[in-house]
Symmetry: C2
Subunit: 480 residues, 2 copies
């Protein structure tokens, strides 16, 4: 008495919803299984609440950078108002509106915990029932990830925050330690400092945003310090003490120092939500990241039916990249189900070209930071013959200064000398987040340098940094 | 005893400076002649001061759009602070810093009024001297334009503002009439309203920004009204009265209505600065716009030596487009001077492809507006088989709402159905100005729709409007 669908999607976050939508658009019957909230981590404890919290902080910071505007910003940010807007954007952690969207797509929504039970078979359990689902064509795993909290002495009693409490709290801790130098760490340090916490950022690495071009982290570091955040790099937390699980937390560092805070946030990486989804029944290791090919099909499983999208495939733990994979996988599954050959052209809808070529990432910090494609180090490592050019945005872009007096920012372009296209572009500075897509179009579209000269940036926008990058490339020495 | 140069540039605004720089970079000797301030209208009475004035107004307006940030903006904009930043960016109308840049390029700077005196010959006059200049290869006219003030009864005595007073005034008129619905009109209405004037915008046309897609003007109109600007469309000013040239101005409209204001700004078009540059000595009509080919060489002159860039060629009265033409003309003149064939490939450095294909324009209003390439009407008129898709940004782009609560904005993409590239893109809404370059790269780079699907916009940026545009195109009906 199993229910049979063409496609079954495990995990109802943005990735799963997009995958379900695209598969359904291919004329396939689809069930989406979610064990918690439809909309997932991103909608309720990720980008949505974090950007809701960050924008008021950044809007005020931006106005304060402008002479004549600064004088208007004499009040304080209203934390209650910020929490209210956050609550509105997460619809008070009620997933009914998102669930309605899914139902409106013509996709069946199944609530419960799904586990694989051999090829194309799933068992969904809730407290009340056990349901068998069979997939004719494909099962798509997009169960996401969970914050990884290090196993430190005292950690349980310390009740540390992860991304969940950092985005759903409506009280501002007087003193907050943020552990981790990646995107979540620097963004949440920015948000909670802006909302009134005294924030200490504790980074294991020497630089912040360690996966990016190093100047991004340097600028963000300086911005945090200037705002009043204490930033400690190359330190490890070795022990926590919070007797009885309430009151202040004593944080011990590997330097022997101690720090007293009211809450501690761990933003120290993610674990895939694959430990309890029956991977062992199809020959894969429970708890592992799932390796996929460029159609997003999982490797190591017979029969071309298992796909893994979003965080679980570990290619890029970013909602937008997971949604991109969902579009690709939906089209691929549709083609295979309909007996059509896959189009192997890298610009076809069947190849996740951008997974390799052009992953974009934006950090809503002060200053903002954004990057797409390969860093100069990655490009060299991959064997490209590259030339890298840098531009000081404050020094050379008038529009940057009109935007923020005393603008400081930097841009970098990594050029493939052989085919004269861009492998990567990074920006840091106020207002750069919405500039990123110009770089993404150039990198993903493989627009040659010669054509980019005909893409005229408006005077006096910050985007004129593109002229400076092109000039620096034209006038610089070719790569050795 | 004439001085001889390879290239002589008439007009030391940004366009002339860029042309001189590029010609010099081609190994040519260059003189730049300027009769007023080196840096030109743009630097001293155009984009530079106007954007210096506008940014504080927009930064405060943006913070007020965000719950929790709004509460911090309890003061007023400090007009004195705004004027001080403007004065700093125009270096107090002292052109020495810009002149130093020109000299640092290795370009000779000649001050005075230059007039053509037959082919390749110029006479420069100042109060003290008369100097003859001969050009071996090229003369480049980039003398710009001047505000055209209509010849109305009473206009002289009314001492109306043009872009000059509108950008260099350090007093805020209590009541200001702005005549004109183009970029200068809507931007200056925004700036002076923000600085404290009671502004009435008087437009001859039915809609604002009449050369753009109509929805841009509709949104800007609504924004101005919501801010408190009175907007009157389809009205003409017929008479001004300001007895003795001081005190309030009585403005009579063609409706018979009268309006009393303290200053009136005419932003009603531009006249080319070509009336007194000796065009008659080379067979061209003084005071006319100069027609050019796609290398920016003036038509109607024998011998391939006269170029016209920037406002005077009437292709686009925009600093950035003039600078683009300067890059093209510099390379063209260098090639011709060195006896090299011109490269006719549209992506070469010798063809001003973007003049026809991809002129970008940004309006620093509230909401911001920006556009590149052809409008849907222009595209159809030119015979393209087009399909136009629209997206309501407030309704469909989460990142837009995180940016500004209750976001209203719209985007339009005009697609060439035959080659599946973009002919034009327009945006209106808070924060769209820096998004424009993503469209410019797509339009100027002729990136096909299929590739744009691999350019992933970050969640949750406003740039995710690109996904909505692509989806709308994918899901819509093909053009009849």
């Amino acid at each position: 008495m199993a229910r049979v669908y063409d496609v079954i999607v495990l995990g109802g976050g943005p990735v799963g919803i997009n995958a379900a939508d695209r598969a359904h658009a291919e004329g396939l019957s689809v069930a989406l299984v979610e064990r918690e909230l439809v909309g997932g981590e991103c909608n309720f404890w990720g980008c949505v609440p974090s950007k809701s919290l960050l924008r008021p902080v950044l809007a005020v910071a931006e106005a304060r950078k402008v002479d004549g505007a600064r004088e208007a910003v004499v009040g304080a940010i209203d934390a209650k108002g910020v929490f209210a807007r956050r609550d509105r954007y997460v619809t008070n952690w009620d997933d009914a509106p998102v669930a309605d969207v899914v139902l409106g797509m013509g996709v069946d929504l199944v609530r419960g915990h799904a586990r694989l039970d051999g090829a194309r078979r799933l068992v969904v359990t809730t407290a009340e029932r056990r349901l068998e689902l069979h997939a004719r064509h494909a099962v798509i795993v997009c169960t996401g990830s969970t914050a990884a909290v290090p196993d430190l002495p005292g950690v349980a009693e310390a009740k540390p925050w992860t991304n969940r409490r950092a985005t759903d709290s409506s009280t501002v801790p007087a003193r907050l330690a943020v552990v981790g130098a990646g995107g979540v760490g620097v963004e949440m340090a920015t948000a909670w400092h802006g909302l009134g916490s005294r924030v200490t950022l504790l980074a294991r690495t020497a630089g912040l945003l360690p996966r990016m071009e190093s100047f991004l982290g340097e600028h963000v570091h300086r911005g945090l310090v200037e705002a009043g955040v204490e930033v400690r790099t190359e330190v490890l937390v070795t022990e926590l003490q919070r007797p009885g699980g309430t009151g202040p937390i004593q944080v011990t560092l590997d330097t022997g120092e101690r720090l007293e805070v009211d809450e501690i946030l761990f933003a120290t990486g993610r674990t895939p939500n694959t430990a309890d989804i029956g991977l062992e029944t199809v020959g894969l290791a429970p708890g592992s990241w799932l390796d996929v090919d460029d159609t997003c099909m999982a490797r190591g499983v017979e029969g071309d039916w298992l796909y893994a999208l979003g965080d679980v495939n570990h290619q890029a733990l970013l909602t937008h990249q997971g949604k991109y994979q969902a579009r690709i996988a939906g089209a691929v599954i549709g083609a295979r189900a309909n007996g059509l050959a896959l189009d192997s052209d890298p610009w076809s809808a069947h190849v996740a070209t951008a997974n390799d070529l052009a992953i974009p990432q934006a950090f809503f910090t002060d200053p903002e930071a954004a990057s797409v494609g390969l860093t100069s180090a990655q490009a060299t490592q991959r064997g490209h013959r590259v030339r890298t050019v840098d531009v000081d945005m404050g020094q050379s872009v008038p529009g940057a200064n009109f935007y923020a007096d005393g603008y400081t920012g930097q841009a970098r372009m990594v050029v493939d000398e052989d085919d004269q296209t861009l492998l990567g572009v990074s920006f840091v500075g106020p207002g750069v987040v919405e500039m990123l897509h110009s770089a993404t179009v150039a990198v993903a579209g493989r627009v040659p340098i010669a054509r980019l000269w005909h893409a005229v940036p408006c005077f006096p926008t910050i985007s004129e940094v593109w002229l400076r990058l092109l000039e620096a490339y034209r006038d610089g020495a070719p790569a050795g």
